[in-house]
Amino acid sequence: MEVQTKNQLSKRKLWVFPWKYNESFIISIGLLIIGFLLELFSNGKGFNSPIWPANIIILLSLIIYIVFTNIFIKHPLIKWMGSVPAAISAIVIFTLLILLMGFIPQNKASSSMLINKLGLNHIVQSYTYVLMSLYLLIILGYATSKRLYPFNFKNFAFLLNHAGLWIVLAAGSLGSGDIIRLKMAVNEKQTVWYAYDETNHPYELPFAIELIDFSIDEYIPNIAFANISDGKIITNKSKQKLPEIIQGKTIIMKDWSIFIDEYYSKSKMVDSSYVLTTDTGATPSAYIIATNKKLNIKKEGWISCGSFKYPQKLIKLDDQILIGMLEPDIKRFSSKIKIYSPNQKVEMITVEVNKPMNIKGWEIYQSGYDKSMGRWSTLSIFEIIKDPWYIVVYIGIIMLIVGSVFLFWHGKYK
């Protein structure tokens, strides 16, 4: 059987319908080359995503054109568009382009002029990528539309997966031009209604933000031992987690046993010891008693990781080992903010990492703070994003999730 079809394929003349792999790959590779040429002649300036309303017009005409031609035009070309060879050629060539992206560092100038000129160091903004995505969208569109009409419930999972992917790709790429991404830095007790875009142009928002309080929660700091000679941290076993500083705990390190006699999460330095405080700039500190039974030595004193206000404090155990405290890792940082709208409405909300808040179609993300001040930062940095297409993309993602569950449930063979 298979040998026969292979012979038929090789005898068949090129460009005679029905088109198979040869035609599909010639078209895909042709588009790839056209993309590279366009990129070469536009001097690597790249492609700007269409914005509203151009993108919605392109999207709707694409849908209408695909569905209409699929229903009313019975040309073998239309049949080819929704065929597996076309799909496979599109998958292979698009993947090859992304494979280049996987190897060539993106968004920085390459030492090779050819890579820069062909746009291979900014593939996502290149004509090649745009052309190949469009080709993929059209092929995927025809494949979907072929099973959409006439409708058969048997194709439900197929449709969820293919239409879902089409929606995600189309809305994600065509909608990207409408995304507004701004940065805003607010000090505590300050009210700001301007945010800045990537080129540092101010942008007036339909609301103002007052930062009531910025706060950071930290993990318990770790104790660390370091070699005096090279300053490298040493551990008991390789890659073991460093011990936490917990009052009353004893830590064994080589011949040393270290007892943590006192631990303050917030303290200040007075003379050469530490006392509890809630003042700005407070630092964690611990009083440790270190004993070496082998050599019969005992050392005790304060260790502290320090803050912007107080210095770091270490203890020299012997000629080789230093003991100290590492700066605590950040557990959570969040901003309590007041939102003022023109209609006099005032809202109090909290934003933190992974928990953005939606205000009037704008999503407010907790992005950063003044790192030099650490947990005493009174400055909070927000990212404020408007993404009008997100609902469309979400619909596509949900369709794909349901489609994946169907794929899992049905498998291939019953």
Binding site: M1, E2, V84, P85, A87, I88, I91, V92, F94, T95, I98, L99, M101, G102, F103, I104, P105, Q106, V124, G172, I179, R181, Y219, K239, D329, I330, K331, R332, F333, E352, V353, N354, K355, P356, E363, Y365, E383, I385, D387, Y390, V393, I397, L400, I401, G403, S404, V405, L407, F408, W409, H410, G411, K412, Y413
Partner: protein, 266 residues
């Protein structure tokens, strides 16, 4: 968490599953024995479910706050999914694989209760973290099996001992795995949107995950169209796994991936 009753759960579940699996493997398709083993396996999974519910009452809040608690849920989900696949498809091999994962998570909670609250940087503290990782781990495990079968099938093909069932098994495994691969990718996208405001940024890991996904997508489409082809689909399957490995470990060494948010820290 009450460690005493937790130890009963861990010992109980592990012994139920091990007995169930042993009976199943030596049952020789005897209906009485396979039914007994099924009952033991289901009770084992139900025990975890029961423990989660009692923990819920005990804590007076849903037990989803700490990582240790989420691991409990995943022990429960993985074993349940494994059992569903087994009952639905009669694939015995899925049982040791998924139950081993499930036991691993139970043991992690049991042996290291102090990592119930592990330090995680704020961006990782997301409800999507565990589903994202679990979906990928499951997919990778299944695709590893598919790769082994495909290599075996290629060897058999060269010895003219090829059996078409090899490809059929690969198909079903790839379908399961691909659904998890897609779910992992989508959960990652939803997470990224919540954490950074964009679904997809072509971070090197994302780029390679996409290439991996396309590799298996190619396999599925090729198999659908060329039902009698043998060598090419098997080659696509084994090559895709090489890409998967590149995506998993390899990108740590690629020049293009030096600033990726996904590179594992040492």
């Amino acid at each position: 968490m009450d460690i005493f009753s937790f130890s009963i759960l861990v010992y109980g579940t592990i012994s139920l599953w091990l007995t169930g699996l042993l009976i199943l493997f030596f049952s020789k398709k005897n209906i009485f024995f396979t039914k007994t083993s099924s009952i033991l396996l289901v009770i084992g999974a139900a025990l975890i479910g029961f423990y989660i519910i009692s923990l819920w009452f005990y804590l007076k809040r849903p037990p989803i706050r700490t990582l240790g608690e989420t691991r409990l849920w995943y022990s429960f989900f993985i074993s349940t999914i494994g059992l569903i696949i087994y009952f639905r498809w009669k694939y015995i091999w899925i049982l040791p694989l998924t139950l081993a994962f499930s036991i691993l998570f139970l043991l992690l909670d049991f042996l290291k209760p102090e990592i119930f609250d592990q330090t995680l940087m704020p961006a990782l503290q997301s409800p999507w973290f565990i589903p994202h990782v679990i979906a990928y781990i499951l997919a990778y495990a299944l695709l590893g099996i598919a790769m082994l079968i495909s290599v075996w099938a290629l060897i058999m093909f060269n010895k003219n001992k090829f059996d078409n069932n090899y490809l059929k098994i690969c198909d079903n495994i790839v379908y399961f795995a691909f659904s998890f691969l897609t779910l992992g990718l989508l959960f990652g996208a939803l997470w990224a949107k919540n954490a950074w405001g964009s679904y997809w940024t072509w971070d090197p890991k994302e780029t390679w995950a996409f290439i991996t996904w396309m590799g298996y997508l190619l396999y599925i489409h090729y198999r659908n169209y060329h039902k009698n082809a043998i060598k090419i689909p098997l080659l696509i399957l084994s090559t895709s796994f090489i890409i998967l490995l590149l995506c998993w470990f390899g990108i740590n060494y690629l020049a293009s991936a030096q600033n990726s948010v996904h590179v594992y820290s040492n």
